[in-house]
């Protein structure tokens, strides 16, 4: 497939080669390769249970992989120290499938939690409120600053989770099914939000999704994860036009 046209001359910020992950006899990933280039939005699609979440968790070090190499911004994840890993993690934001807000804290405290523990990165600040408000404003939720997570709707939770990620100014954001479980209108809002965040903060992103409309709208490039490998790669138009039945299955319902 014509990969050069979209990626030419760009620097890879994440490189994965030959990633393998087994759970006992269950071979979830079987030699997965991926590059994420600076400033691009990469959409990864795959059936439920194909190992998308596992792949992205290996990437950020929440799961250990069995074989292969992962390189994030020039650093090999196999031999980083704990401090280096934490430093990388401030550069890479992660949005969980279930939002994962700290439910004993208010929205403000949720956002302050990472902020107060990374003062050396964020520079000195005496009052966290302006930074918290700025992050909340970029997701349109400044008015919810003193609510508890249980008082928020599903869509609002995703937004707060995104704000909590943005507050550390990451260079890369990983989204695990950002629109799953939301109604079509809210989904659309979240997709637009991801686009505006990408433009405002100039991040590179990986978005895992089942949502074809979302993929069409937001992707610069796509990877289809089938049978534990990167089965097909290309722009939305290229994959949509493919005649391979396994690729077709994603686009024709």
């Amino acid at each position: 497939m014509n990969k050069k046209s979209v990626t030419e001359g760009r620097r890879a910020v994440i490189t994965i080669r030959g990633l393998k992950k087994f759970f006992g006899k269950n071979h979830v990933l079987n030699g997965f390769d991926m590059d994420l280039y600076e400033g691009e939005t990469l959409v990864i699609m795959g059936k439920s249970g194909s190992g998308k979440s596992v792949m992205i968790k290996c990437l950020i070090g929440l799961e250990t992989h069995d074989e292969g190499t992962i390189n994030i911004m020039g650093r090999n994840m196999e031999n980083v120290t704990e401090d280096e890993l934490n430093e990388i993690r401030t550069e890479v934001g992660f949005l969980f499938q279930g939002s994962a807000l700290y439910d004993s804290m208010t929205v403000r405290e949720n956002l302050e939690f990472p902020l107060r523990r990374h003062v050396e990165k964020m520079g000195h600040f005496s009052d966290a409120t302006p930074l918290v408000l700025e992050a909340l404003e970029s997701v349109g939720l400044a008015h919810a600053i003193d609510l508890m997570p249980e008082e928020l709707s599903g869509g609002m939770k995703r937004r707060v989770a995104l704000a909590r990620t943005l507050i550390l100014r990451p260079k890369i954001i990983l989204y695990d099914e950002p629109t799953t479980g939301l109604d079509p209108i809210t989904s659309k809002e979240i997709v637009l939000l991801m686009k505006s965040v990408q433009q405002k903060y100039k991040t590179s992103s990986i978005i895992i999704t089942h949502d074809v409309d979302c993929a069409r709208f937001i992707s610069d490039r796509m990877i289809l994860l089938v049978d534990g490998i990167n089965y097909a790669e290309g722009t939305f138009a290229e994959l949509d036009a493919s005649t391979d039945p396994k690729v077709q299955a994603f686009f024709k319902s």
Binding site: A100, R117, H118
Partner: protein, 258 residues
């Protein structure tokens, strides 16, 4: 043969868990002295734990003092030893009953709470979320809680002892016309450092055990929401067992030195 095999497997699994819990405790001591310190969360935990168990521990202590004195009183009168009631009651409460009962109640009240809270944070990926934002959830969640139980259980025990002795005094006062002054003079005469030091020291270990097991079960909680219940439940059962073992060891050690 298969009986032998299954019991071997059981023992191996048990030893494995003991090893894992020791590693967990080791990590606690390593992270305890590493900056930054989560002192605000530590204070909050101490306050919550005290606040949550104060009434329960107080009421239980009071009733134990009452009942214990009421039940032993007739026998002591028969033996013509009613003057010894204050010292007998104080020694048994301060040495044994106060610490173990308070610790058991706190295992149910605080230990299960820690297990359930950390467990649900684990299964809803909140702990993972802390990790991926480059913060240290072990330090924030585990170190503060274990430290808080280690500090608060001894305080609660001292309070419970005091209330139990007061309960005992009320019985003596109404049934035997013993004055406040006489009762507590007798109590303090019969208690010396041999009673106070070991029995206070062991409550720190009780507190540590409650925090450690609760945090361990919650932090490594598995299998979704059902796992949270299991974590809370296992935490209480294992802590209670561990408390008796620790108590036994404490008595043995005290016996050697005095």
């Amino acid at each position: 043969m298969s009986f032998f095999r299954t019991s071997m497997q059981y023992i191996l699994k048990y030893l494995e868990e003991v090893g894992e819990m020791s590693a967990f405790a080791g990590r606690f001591f390593r992270e305890l002295f590493r900056r930054p310190f989560e002192s605000r969360e530590l204070l909050r935990q101490c306050y919550n734990m005290g606040n949550k168990s104060l009434l329960l521990v107080g009421v239980t202590g009071f009733i134990i003092g009452l009942v214990f004195t009421l039940q032993s009183r007739p026998k002591m009168l028969d033996l013509g030893a009613s003057a010894w009631i204050p010292s007998m009651v104080s020694i048994s409460i301060v040495r044994e009953i106060g610490p173990i009962i308070t610790a058991l109640i706190c295992a149910g009240r605080i230990g299960s709470g820690i297990g359930a809270e950390l467990g649900s944070m684990r299964v809803t990926e909140q702990i993972d979320a802390m990790e991926v934002s480059g913060t240290n959830p072990f330090k924030y969640l585990v170190v503060t809680r274990i430290l808080a139980t280690t500090l608060m259980i001894p305080l609660l025990v001292v309070m419970s002892d005091a209330i139990a002795l007061f309960g005992s005094f009320l019985v003596e006062n109404t049934k035997g016309d013993v004055s406040f002054r006489y009762f507590f003079d007798e109590v303090f005469l019969s208690l010396d450092f041999v009673d106070l030091i070991p029995s206070t020291l062991k409550t720190f270990f009780f507190g540590f055990a409650i925090g450690l097991v609760g945090c361990y079960r919650g932090y490594y909680c598995k299998h979704g929401t059902a796992g949270v219940g299991v974590a809370a439940n296992t935490a209480v059962v294992e802590t209670s067992m561990l408390l008796f073992v620790l108590d036994f060891i404490a008595v043995m050690v005290t016996d050697i030195f005095y």
